[in-house]
Amino acid sequence: MNNVDPALVKGLAIGLGAIGPAIGVGLIGSAAVGAIGRNPEMQGRILSTAFVMAGLVDAVLAFVLLIVFTT
């Protein structure tokens, strides 16, 4: 374990850390599109809630980037 390139670890951290938020944003998007399809007159409220949720999920990816970029 001593001769692992740190760049490999950082790349793996970004790649693996992006999986969770990517799935999360995908689920939010699919749920929002489904909800708008069901009742289109609520589009504004659904979209604003979806953006808030996307912001919450993106924070996880931001933590990964933060740790990778600062160590």
Partner: protein, 266 residues
């Protein structure tokens, strides 16, 4: 002081000290935060000056749109006009201050991070967006959660507020456990609120710098999508901070609202 990522220069995690007043070290984030706050207050004062029933000034019109937007959020979160009007100033302050602070950091403003000052043999940037400093976001999160506790105690009294955490048979071990979990969750909100804002904005800054250096001579072109993404995240994060503050407030203030309590868990 610079960090190195894959051999690239990036901004260090902590804000750099640029000068000190009577032993108190002033960092570049603090310096720029004061400028940002003064600018925010100034532009809002000018907008308020020109605000009228049919605004002719475009600035006043834009700020009325903004306040109307926050007013709509406050009404839909608190459920009644009186409570919403009471807490509108806090929400509007949080949103405008964080938004302007974030936008200054997205590579939009020339001079931020590139104007340097020499202090103590080190070369440090003079201006650093205040939301890329954990101290600033932590201070805002502590202030927000402290205000939530303050308003809740003023509205419900100390006993009523404690009843929010500990359900009615106090001696029941299960209720004590749940209550302690709730109190811990309240403390954790400070951490999540501050870390979310700081993480997104700081990682964005570093991402822009890294993309710029990785692309070499075409850095200016490669930065464009990253900067656009950062613009989007800046607005979203300011909105999320305000929205979460409003939700925490409406949950803590009791049960005469129509807010959605399950959103407050995030």
């Amino acid at each position: 002081m610079v960090n190195f990522l894959f051999g690239l220069e990036t901004e260090p995690l902590s804000a750099q000290k640029i000068f000190s007043i009577g032993g108190l070290g002033i960092t570049n984030a603090m310096f720029f935060a004061v400028i940002t706050a003064a600018f925010t207050v100034g532009i809002l004062l000018v907008a308020a000056q020109y605000s009228q029933l049919h605004p002719k000034s475009r600035l006043a019109y834009l700020f009325e749109l903004l306040v109307d937007f926050i007013w709509g959020i406050a009404i839909s979160t608190f459920g009644n006009r009186k409570t919403a009007l009471k807490h509108l100033p806090l929400l509007a302050t949080l949103f405008t201050f964080i938004l302007i602070g974030n936008l200054t950091g997205s590579g939009l403003l020339p001079g931020v991070g590139t104007v340097v000052v020499h202090s103590g043999g080190l070369t440090e940037p003079l201006l650093r967006p205040f939301t890329t400093d954990l101290n600033a976001t932590l201070a805002m999160a502590i202030l927000t959660i402290g205000l939530v506790q303050f308003y809740a105690i003023r509205q419900l009294g100390l006993r009523g507020h404690i009843k929010h955490y500990f359900a009615s048979p106090y001696w029941n071990p299960m209720n004590i456990f749940v209550g302690l979990n709730e109190v811990f969750g309240e403390l954790l909100r400070i951490v999540t609120l501050s870390m979310r804002l700081f993480g997104v904005i700081y990682a964005g800054e570093v991402l822009i710098a890294a993309v710029n250096q990785l692309a070499g001579n075409f850095g200016w072109l490669a930065m464009v999508p990253t900067v656009l993404m950062e613009l989007f995240f800046s607005i979203i994060q300011a909105y999320v901070f305000m929205m979460l503050s409003a939700t925490y407030l409406s949950v803590a203030l009791g049960d005469e609202h129509t807010g959605t309590p399950e959103k407050a868990k995030a």
